[in-house]
Each structure stands twice: as C-alpha cells, then as structure tokens.
Symmetry: C2
Amino acid sequence: MPRTHRKTTSSLIGEKLADFRVGVDNAIFSVDTAQNRLLVLLVMRHEEPFLGQWSLPGTLVRQGESLEDAAYRILSEKIRARNLYLEQLYTFGGPDRDPREAKDSYDVRYLSVSYFALVRFAEAELIADGVSGIAWYPVDQLPELAFDHNKILEYGHRRLRNKLEYSPVAFDVLPELFTLSDLFQLYTTVLGENFSDYSNFRSRLLKLGFLSDTGVKVSRGAGRPASLYRFDAEAFAPLKDKPLVFI
Amino acid sequence: MPRTHRKTTSSLIGEKLADFRVGVDNAIFSVDTAQNRLLVLLVMRHEEPFLGQWSLPGTLVRQGESLEDAAYRILSEKIRARNLYLEQLYTFGGPDRDPREAKDSYDVRYLSVSYFALVRFAEAELIADGVSGIAWYPVDQLPELAFDHNKILEYGHRRLRNKLEYSPVAFDVLPELFTLSDLFQLYTTVLGENFSDYSNFRSRLLKLGFLSDTGVKVSRGAGRPASLYRFDAEAFAPLKDKPLVFI
DNA sequence: CCAAAAGTGTTTGCTCTACACCCATGT
DNA sequence: ACATGGGTGTAGAGCAAACACTTTTGG
C-alpha cells in the first residue's frame, strides 16, 4: 500500500498533499413539545468569514482530543444538557467549502466532521456567554447559514427522522416518566402530522414490550388522566440489533 | 460562534489545536458468485508502521482533491472496475489510532475518512504494480490488519448488509442482464443462507415492478433455463425515497 | 352535562411465511 | 427417466389502516 500515509510532503508530480484544519460542527436538535416545534441550535458568528451570520456550533479539534470529545465539548459550552443522544453524521471536506481556502496563500483545507445530537428541550439551558448570539430555531424557518451548514442540517434532519423510526432515541430525550401522548407528540412533531394514527401507534409500541406502565396517573388539564410509562432498557436489550419499526 | 474555525494556533490555555493529516481508506467489497464468497480488497504495506501487514487501500488527500475524488483515485489505482457503488462510511479520528502520533515530536494526528465501495467482481481486474501485494480476502477469513482497519471493515460490512436490504445497490454490481437466481445468490452470500426463501424473495422483488423480463432465456447446466431481467431505473425512480425492503 | 383527552376494540385487507407443486432443460 | 434448477400457487398467521367506541377527568 505504497500510497497510504506517505510522509507529509511528496515531491512526485501532481501529488502535493492538502494541508488540513479539522473542525467539528454539531447539528443539535430538540423538540419543544409545548409548542410542537422541532428546533435546532444556531450560534451567531463574530468573525470573518460569514461575520454576523448564523451557523452551527463548531470548534477545531485540540491535541489529544477525539472527534467525539470535541463534539461533546462544543455541546457543553453552549448548553447545559444532561440527557442527550449524539453520533457522527458525515464528513464534509470538498475543496472550496470554506472561503478562506481561496485567500490563504498556504492552501489550507477546512474539513468538517459533523455530529448529530438530540437533546431534551426542557433541561437544555442555553449558556449565554455575553457576546455570542445563540438561539433555538425552528427547522422549517431557518435563515441562510454560514459555510455549507444548511446542507449539513438538511442531512442531519433526514438522519433524525430515520433514527426516530428505527431506534429508541426518543427515550434518551423524553423524561424518565412520560405518557404515551408525550411520546406520540414527539414523533408527530418530528415526522409530521399524519405519520400514524394515535391508537395504532399506541398498540404497536405497547406490543413491543419495553414500555412499562408505572400505574401512576397524571392529569394535564381536561380529559382523562394518562398513565406514566417508563422505558425498560432490559426488556429492550434483546431487540437492540433487530430492525425495529416505530413508524 | 467564537470557537469555530479560529485561526490556526491559539495561545489560550489548554487550547492547543491538533495538526492533522487526512487520509482516505476504502473498504472495497465484491461478491464472487462463482464461489459464493464475500470478498474485500486488501493491500500489503511496504512501509512502517505495520510493514508487511495487510491493510485497506488508502491514500492521503491531495490539494484541490475532494474526499470522494481521493476515494475514487485509490480505487482506480488498485482495480479497473467500471461498475461500482461508493459512499462515505465513517470518519475515524481519535488520537492514538496511528502509532506515528506518539513518535512524531510535532504531535500530528492521523485522521481517516473511510469509504465503502461495492464493485462488480467479474470486471474488477486487480492492478499489480510489481511491488505491492494486493488481494481479495473472504470477509470471514481476515488476517489482522494494520491500524484500526479491522474495525473499519466491520463497520463497512454492517453497512453493506443494510444497503442491500434497503437500497438497490445490488443492481450497480450485477451485470446489465441477470437472472433472479443471480440476484438471490448475491443476497444470500452477503446476508447469509436463511435470509429468505427463494420463491418469496422472487415474488416480492417482481411485485415492486422495477425488474423487467427481457424474455431471453439462459441455460446454466442442467435445469430449466432462467429469464434474464434488467433493472428498470425509470420504474424505480418513484420508489427512490420510499423505505424499501428487499429482505 | 359536555368537551377533551386517554384508552380499547373491531373490521377489512394485505403481506409474510412456509411449503407443495409444476415446468423445462441436460445427461 | 430423472436429477436439477426455474417458476407458480396457496393456506394460515399476523399485521396495519381506519375508525367507532368507551372511560375518566375538568369546567
């Protein structure tokens, strides 16, 4: 494998290696169940390029820091969230995705490893550091973002929908105890109004057998009180690798 | 977003940025239908570290070259394949994944953006460049690979199985005209013996409506001759974004 | 009592599974 | 003729969509 990991600068024709800056950008989603909105966390840029424009929270990777560590670091610098789900999304690294590449005489490439996160909205307290603008934006009302961040978000949004359908991410982001309506509403705000009928959703989920009824009832205004359920990780374990459908 | 894309070296405490070499490594799969084996392309290393060990074909990214371009370049340096499917797999970038990081005084990080590829076996002619060892290995008889390449391959293998179930990659890798047995066999070698009954597989696929019978029959030894089918891209188009199950 | 929310049940049609069986060819 | 692989059909189980209905609360 002669061409892999050759020492930095090669003198062979046409083989000049690119010099990279590696950053991590996060697509952080959250569901505001009170207002039925799917939100994404944006921060205002205070530097060139794209000064004054909204962008995804990101950072450059430090020495000794893994990519995932970097992703968690940005997240914890922006919000205080304890319950969350995070995974790598995609790596965007084409040339010309950052305007600085053109200007820099040194021909530097900016590579972005993006991460996808879903956090519990109620607990996610934004950290205002005085200077930076930081805000939750509804995904259907996004402004034009810096770099290729609109593209990253679109990609992240697709991933979110898939995750919800095929894996139990929802429970990472719901409170410990929740009603089936809470769960249904979460799915509805992410997947759209008519993804399923409530009663069918309900029986499908219950049949899977990893939601345990605590027996405790809660009343939310008018209407019959709802049972509080808990996600039973043990009961779910055997299903972990099977293709699940929560439709 | 003050911490994103800050100019190279920062002097703030604990914020020393990592210096990156970005490589692309390919997990290239192929199905040998004659012998019913799932193969992966490995190359022998002729440099330290891991000299004399097998590894995934990889390269460092050049100036002006996109990640995907780099992936295609390695591929075309190793095999002459015209029909293939390729997509990004995952980015491995933790510290300590490359032993050179420890030795280099300069604290360089080696980041690997891995790509997943599926190529048509019959056409994939290996390019022996005299020096390098290069070979197809059955995925169930892998040697110990350099770096974290075993992990990458495992990840790629999982992706392959998913791709086959939910997307029409198989048709990128089958000949223009194929029998339903060819298709079934491809699925069997990748997903395992008992993923489905032939007759059910058959009717499910045909009902989807994007396989058109050419009427031409081929005889392979004994037994009734089989119809040659063609993948009808137009008929498939409307199904593109729907969740398909080829199980 | 009525509206609202939670929870149950039923009907209809379809898909999945598992086989059994027929068809066309080489030897 | 018979083994071999290709292709068709079917009965039963289970699931999903749609919707009607009951239960329990607040006002």
